[in-house]
Symmetry: C2
Subunit: 324 residues, 2 copies
Amino acid sequence: MQRIVVLAGGIGGARFLLGLKQTAPDAEITVIGNTGDDIHLFGLKVCPDLDTVMYTLGGGIHDEQGWGRSEETFTVKEELAAYGVGPSWFGLGDRDFATHIVRTQMISAGYPLSAVTEALCRRWQPGVRLLPMTDDRVETHVLVDDPEAEGGSGQRAVHFQEYWVRMRAEAPARAVVPIGADQAAPAPGVLEAIGAADVVLFPPSNPVVSVGTILAVPGVREAIADAGVPVVGLSPIVGGAPVRGMADRMLAAIGVETTAAAVALHYGSGLLDGWLVDSTDAEAVAEVEAAGVRCRAVPLMMSDADATARMAAQALELAAEVSG
Amino acid sequence: MQRIVVLAGGIGGARFLLGLKQTAPDAEITVIGNTGDDIHLFGLKVCPDLDTVMYTLGGGIHDEQGWGRSEETFTVKEELAAYGVGPSWFGLGDRDFATHIVRTQMISAGYPLSAVTEALCRRWQPGVRLLPMTDDRVETHVLVDDPEAEGGSGQRAVHFQEYWVRMRAEAPARAVVPIGADQAAPAPGVLEAIGAADVVLFPPSNPVVSVGTILAVPGVREAIADAGVPVVGLSPIVGGAPVRGMADRMLAAIGVETTAAAVALHYGSGLLDGWLVDSTDAEAVAEVEAAGVRCRAVPLMMSDADATARMAAQALELAAEVSG
């Protein structure tokens, strides 16, 4: 049985995993999920990326939206607003609230996030092993300009969710800091899964705040680089723009161009063995290969399940090719 | 302006307060609410009696039911059940959940329950000052027979809500213990309100687990007895049975007969100056008066707002009579 490890953020990672499951139904898939965008809201611990993966693979996702629950209602949120309690910019629905209530109760009782995630997955049966990257608290903050900032620095740090959801990433991000990452330990099973993997995949997730944050947990990048198995990624940038989301904002913050080739070079040949770019970015192939990363141009739009499954199949083919 | 202090449990106390507000619209009413039936559910702090008073006076109560919110939905509860997380016997609705989320968040942030209650009341504008009896944790437990009990005692203690809601008070209660009450301090404002009152009323609330628990907070009974103002109660027992609820179970546990007279004698003439019994219990008047408590027989069914307002008016009249 093929053992595949996938580093996943939210929507892009979750949809890719649907395709991967379709194309490799017998594979043993371990997902290492980003927790840098976790946030405490109303005293509850919310894990947007883990939940997006869990809901998507478990059949509970709001399909069009890509996040949150299907057939969702917003009674609790309306009531919180009636109490004057915010924030109102984060759209937690009633079904979603239940997940955060269960998670928070378990964490308060002393369970680590990895055990909580396993418990939640007993309901959702995602068909993969879903591990948080760490049980420790990591919170991605974004540095933005603020002429009014106290201390005269002219900048302030906002939680990634506030930047992404409330501010819609409109202000330029000057830096992205995964606070706590340097002190975090990989969650139980993370390094073991990488060590036992036959292939490691980077789905078309955000290279900075999703895959990048997972790689920032000490030991993870090294374990992948040292695993001696093919590491293949799919470009989230197509035609010089993010397929979805605002990855360009994040790439600019770390000084990386918004091109399919630049993202591959950012990961680097020390980590990455293969890279898929979209057919429209065929000119990137030579540049990526010159940097020592095998590269193919194939259709990379996850427009439906079959198209996504073909992308996953091509990633696995490229992995076989680089290892062969 | 007349200053009235009311010791209130849940439904009975809340409905009585509606009548009192109608009959004495200009009075300054302070409600000392029972918190002995508070319970932690799903990691959230639930205060059933305080909320019943707040929702009833604030226009948010489920009228027919007497507790919980009107136009309630149960999405969160269904989702918790889908996670296999209980208990399922306590019917928390989505609107109600929001109250408990706000309360729990504030308590986690360090606010005492009295400050939280004041904050919640800013939305509900109940038209009374609602104080929890204490900011300390008090939990009423009921001792029931259990042949399987560990240690061979043959009994076990269950939380009052579990006894009342899940077990429907069907097993005989051997004892009622307000755990923590002996160590609790009256909440800020409680003793001051009693000291400044012109009259103290005991609505037809449960004399054991509602009014009795409030009186068990050290200092409260003494403050009422020493206030030197009329203390008038209304019998929750009519024709030898509770008007609603299962007060007979609770009275049996403390060895008090389920009669209007026995409840008055249980409070005692050292505390109580006046007592209203229902017209059908006219024979109790002589017995209660013989014990030194002024007693009148009047209709005591809170069948509608006007009937309830008349009961409140008669309680105030009796207070005037005993003080005159």
